[in-house]
Symmetry: C2
Subunit: 363 residues, 2 copies
């Protein structure tokens, strides 16, 4: 049997640097745990635009469709700010999400014990925080038609369309309920059903799906209140389910509660492929951070933990994922810090590459 395959798309900014550290981890699992992967690499975002004139070449799209998992670094940077909307770096990422049909975006917001002081929130509010946000990722206002800028009378009008079918809501909801079953069996669904009809349908479908998961305690919350409650008392939540746009904002808000954005991974999952594995793309929640790119300052942990999510969700290696996560916790407990995690007295930062090395050593 051939090895499982991984396509690495480092992308822009700090993407290549953090991905180099993930490569060390992948190599370690091949050498020491008999978990070898066939790894290939390609371009996405600005890096792809520079070569192909678009942020994702069709051949790269094909490759992504035919591997067991995609690992992505980050896309975007000031160099590409003035590009036309249709070829901006982000379009490469959005094309991957859409064409791979990755409808379930899992974004853990977890506060690491060793880093609780980094949060702008009081320690008792965030210590031990462990939320999972499930964001629908292939529909809503990100992809709805009509969209664009149109002439109307003497002026222009900008239009986007929020659009959700019952089946789109249902499959995202099911994945959230499944996750809740494996966690604390509490699910909170967020929308604006008091203002938007798409939110009414959302609430109705989620409530219907709940009948198949009688053990899960379901609640509904308006998204504005959701943002408030995340800031006020985030530990009230276990799994949060929400749509593409609310999920974008609420998951970033939740991520920042932990105080350590450089630590947070994500998984974007689709339907099972012929081999039973889900279509999958893993990426850190942080962006391409062009201001520190190429300086060895980036924190590779979010990207490394994204690979841990790949071990868990694509390769059914939960124990190995635990091992990798434990190694990360250990290096943090030992006081190793990249530049983004400074602040304690007497700690000096280690580089991106040194962080990769100490994690390998801890494994």
């Amino acid at each position: 049997m051939s090895n499982p395959s991984i396509l690495i798309l480092p992308g822009d900014g700090i993407g290549p640097e953090v991905m180099a550290e993930v490569r060390k981890i992948i190599t370690w699992f091949g050498d020491k745990r008999d978990l070898a992967f066939d790894v290939s690499e390609d371009l996405v975002g600005g890096a792809a635009y520079d070569v192909h004139g678009k942020p994702l070449a069709d051949e790269t799209m094909d490759k992504a469709q035919n591997v067991d998992a995609v690992l992505l670094g980050a896309v975007g940077g000031p160099k590409y700010d003035d590009l036309d909307f249709s070829v901006k770096p982000e379009r490469g990422l959005l094309r991957l999400r859409k064409e791979m049909d990755l409808y379930s975006n899992l974004r853990p917001a977890q506060c690491f014990d060793a880093l609780a002081d980094f949060s702008s929130l009081k320690k008792d509010i965030v210590a031990g925080l462990d939320i999972m946000i499930v964001r629908e990722l292939t529909s809503g206002v990100y992809f709805g038609e009509p969209r664009g800028i149109f002439e109307e009378g003497n002026e222009r009008v900008g239009i986007n369309t929020q659009r959700y079918t019952e089946s789109e809501i249902e499959r995202a909801a099911r994945s959230a309920f499944e996750l809740a079953m494996r966690r604390n069996k509490k699910l909170c669904s967020m929308e604006k059903a008091n203002v938007m009809e798409s939110g009414i349908l959302w609430r109705e479908v989620v409530t219907r799906v709940a009948a198949d998961y009688p053990e899960v305690e379901l609640s509904h919350m308006y998204a504005d209140n959701g943002a408030m409650q995340l800031v006020r008392a985030p530990k009230q939540f276990d799994v949060i389910l929400t749509d593409n746009l609310f999920g974008d904002i609420l998951s970033d808000c939740a991520a920042m509660l932990t105080g350590s954005l450089g630590m947070l991974p994500s998984a974007s999952l689709g339907a099972p492929m012929a081999n039973g594995r889900p279509k999958a793309l893993y990426e850190p929640v942080h962006g391409s951070a062009p201001d520190i790119a190429g300086q060895g300052k980036a924190n590779p942990i979010a990207c490394i933990l994204s690979f841990a999510m790949a071990l868990r969700y694509s390769f059914d290696q939960g124990a190995e994922a635990d091992r990798l996560e434990a190694a990360v916790e250990k290096v943090l407990a030992d006081g190793h810090r990249t530049a983004d995690l400074l602040g304690e007295e007497g700690v000096s930062p280690i580089s991106t590459s040194e962080m990769g090395d100490v994690i390998v050593a801890a494994l």
Copy 2:
């Protein structure tokens, strides 16, 4: 010359209770400062539905159009949860906003010195916080067509439309720049121009309007990053400009940073009327809080400070608004607390009505 007119719409839940305290304040200004108002009162929200079968009677709408300012308490409650979308309490409020064309919603997020400990954020992150969020309030996904739940093939689809014309963006932007000129001359505009064409047009128009305000330092931020930055370091902001839906979420997030939701007022302003005053509606940011309604526990300060905003923005009485705000600061400094503001040792709560009384006394 006749007195300026105010229409009071107490609404649901704690609305009537907090509004009773505002009445005391209004009376005080008439008696002691020679600032008499013609005050009338009517129904909105569930209270209107109970009487008229809809959340805002046409006659009430007419009255609102013909007074100098509307003061609204709050709308909504569990009793009305199962009503049809078209007659839910919120529709009364949305109709007022839309038909009065109140395009500029001012939401201060201010941290009161005496209450900085109430925030879930660290004190140094929020002490002295003073942000003004300008939220566009009459357009975007709240009102765009088409909207609804439609049949499509074998299933239903929920649709809402995000829609902004250049002139809608421009007038909201102007009001934000005007405010920035009277504050610290820093304006940050938030959208998702990386994903939504309506955001591209938004950014373009705001940038164009900026040419008329060369003293104001303008920046742009994606709304997801905006949510993060609000949590990470809110004091980086002075005025934030954003659309109806992002504004709903971001202003609630910002409000919660202050830790004292019961304290925050808002003003919704439209175009100048024949008498030069803007169309205007003032309301607290908090909701109808049905769980504590009728118990004398509600904090009337947000509603009282909404009246202070009316003094400033509708009646050109900035000095009197300052006086009222100072009275509120004083009662807080003196240790008076309603039940929502408890937590300090040895402080016992005063009632809604007592809070109104001590503020009148402080005036």
